[in-house]
């Protein structure tokens, strides 16, 4: 029997998700024993035409990482959707928009202006900016169209499953591949990670008071962070109570607060709103003035609560004038 064919692709991403696959170490040998990797630009030489030449549904599954922020990424994922039985959104960027999704606080014009005109390291005396088409020597050289708005994968194509995290934890990748090979997948649309909050598996959970009351949110540089006490109880903006478990709380183990890369549990639609609500619920406030003072003391709320999830949130992007 021929092995199932598998593809990996990247869109607006950093390559960290590819590293997560490499982090399988020798485990990757078990994966290639069971499947044929037929498309993976970082590791194998395939051109777009090779993918276009595949039969529809030829790949059993394609893991796609990265947000969708230009026309080429949209075209590629549309092709991959046709060629794949299953599409798995791999990592925070394809799941919720990720760090590149913070660009939704801006638009194409302001990003181009910064990157190609005003950034201190630019040397661009002619003020050139990327063009979709440039005529040269009687032919046309093309670049993809850069969008105003970053989108999640499921805002562009139909997605079957999600592997959360920035980058997805190795044990979850192994679990997903195993579930696919054994045909033991949950219902379509599921996030392939434990459906509980990070606080539930955090080593510091015993030190989280039952009735937590925060008088003031602190920033990491303002305090000496205790290495055993609940970070939220220390006043740090730790989003573990709003964030899905499954990462083995590696940030908290490194004495840094959770910033929500795993996204919400299945009972929540908007991660940022849930995280904000979770923080408001522990504010030691008796009236609106107290709430304003405590929550108002959080620097950059949109970037803090939606660090990985702005395109997936109800906010989606900054309103255009």
């Amino acid at each position: 029997m021929s092995k199932p064919k598998v593809g990996f692709y990247w869109c607006a991403s950093c390559g960290g998700c590819e590293e997560a696959v490499v982090d399988l170490n020798e485990g990757v040998l078990d994966v290639v024993e069971a499947v044929d990797i037929v498309f993976w630009p970082v590791a194998l030489d395939f051109k777009r035409s090779d993918v276009e030449a595949m039969e529809d549904g030829e790949m059993a599954v394609c893991f796609i990482n990265g947000a969708i922020r230009n026309s080429e990424q949209k075209e590629m994922v549309e092709i991959l959707r046709k060629k794949s039985g299953l599409i798995v959104a791999f990592g925070s960027c394809s799941h919720m928009g990720g760090i590149p999704g913070l660009a939704n606080l801006h638009d194409k014009e302001s990003i181009f202006n910064r990157v190609y005109h005003t950034v201190p390291t630019i040397d661009n005396p002619d003020g050139t900016i990327p063009q979709v088409e440039t005529s040269v020597c009687g032919t046309t050289v093309e670049l993809p169209e850069f969008w105003d708005t970053v989108r999640t994968l499921n805002q562009v194509i139909d997605v079957d499953y999600y592997l959360p995290g920035c980058a997805p934890p190795v044990n979850l990748i192994v679990g997903a591949v195993t579930a696919i090979l054994e045909g033991k997948l949950p219902e379509k649309g599921a996030v392939l990670a434990p459906d509980k909050a990070l606080c539930d598996e955090c080593d510091r959970r015993e030190s989280k008071p039952e009735n937590l009351c925060i008088d003031e949110f602190k920033r990491p540089y303002q305090i000496i962070i205790d290495e055993e006490e609940c970070l939220l109880a220390q006043g740090l903006l730790c989003l573990g109570s709003a964030t899905r478990a499954g990462c083995d709380s590696i940030c908290v183990k490194g004495n840094m607060p959770c910033t929500g890369c795993m996204g919400p549990t299945s009972r929540v639609n908007d991660f940022g709103a849930k995280a904000l609500s979770a923080m408001a619920s522990v504010a030691n406030a008796n009236d609106e003035k107290d709430v304003k003072r405590i929550i108002g003391g959080i620097a950059d709320p949109v970037g803090s609560f939606n660090k990985y999830s702005l395109p997936a949130s109800y906010l989606h992007r900054k309103v255009r004038k």
Binding site: F46, S110, C137
Partner: protein, 64 residues
Amino acid sequence: MGKHIIVDPITRLEGHGKIDIILNDDGNVDRAYFQVPELRGFEQFAIGRRAEDLPQITSRICGV
């Protein structure tokens, strides 16, 4: 005009790339362009973030 060769994508590297090579009538390279079709705009969206978040944000420029 000669031939226009497009290598898209460039593979086995971290990042996105595309090469356009334009040959003249004699079959020699007239122009060659290395294009990076991907931009995310960290230069702009890092502004306004908390300073302590920047090590986490900028490490996603390249995760390799």
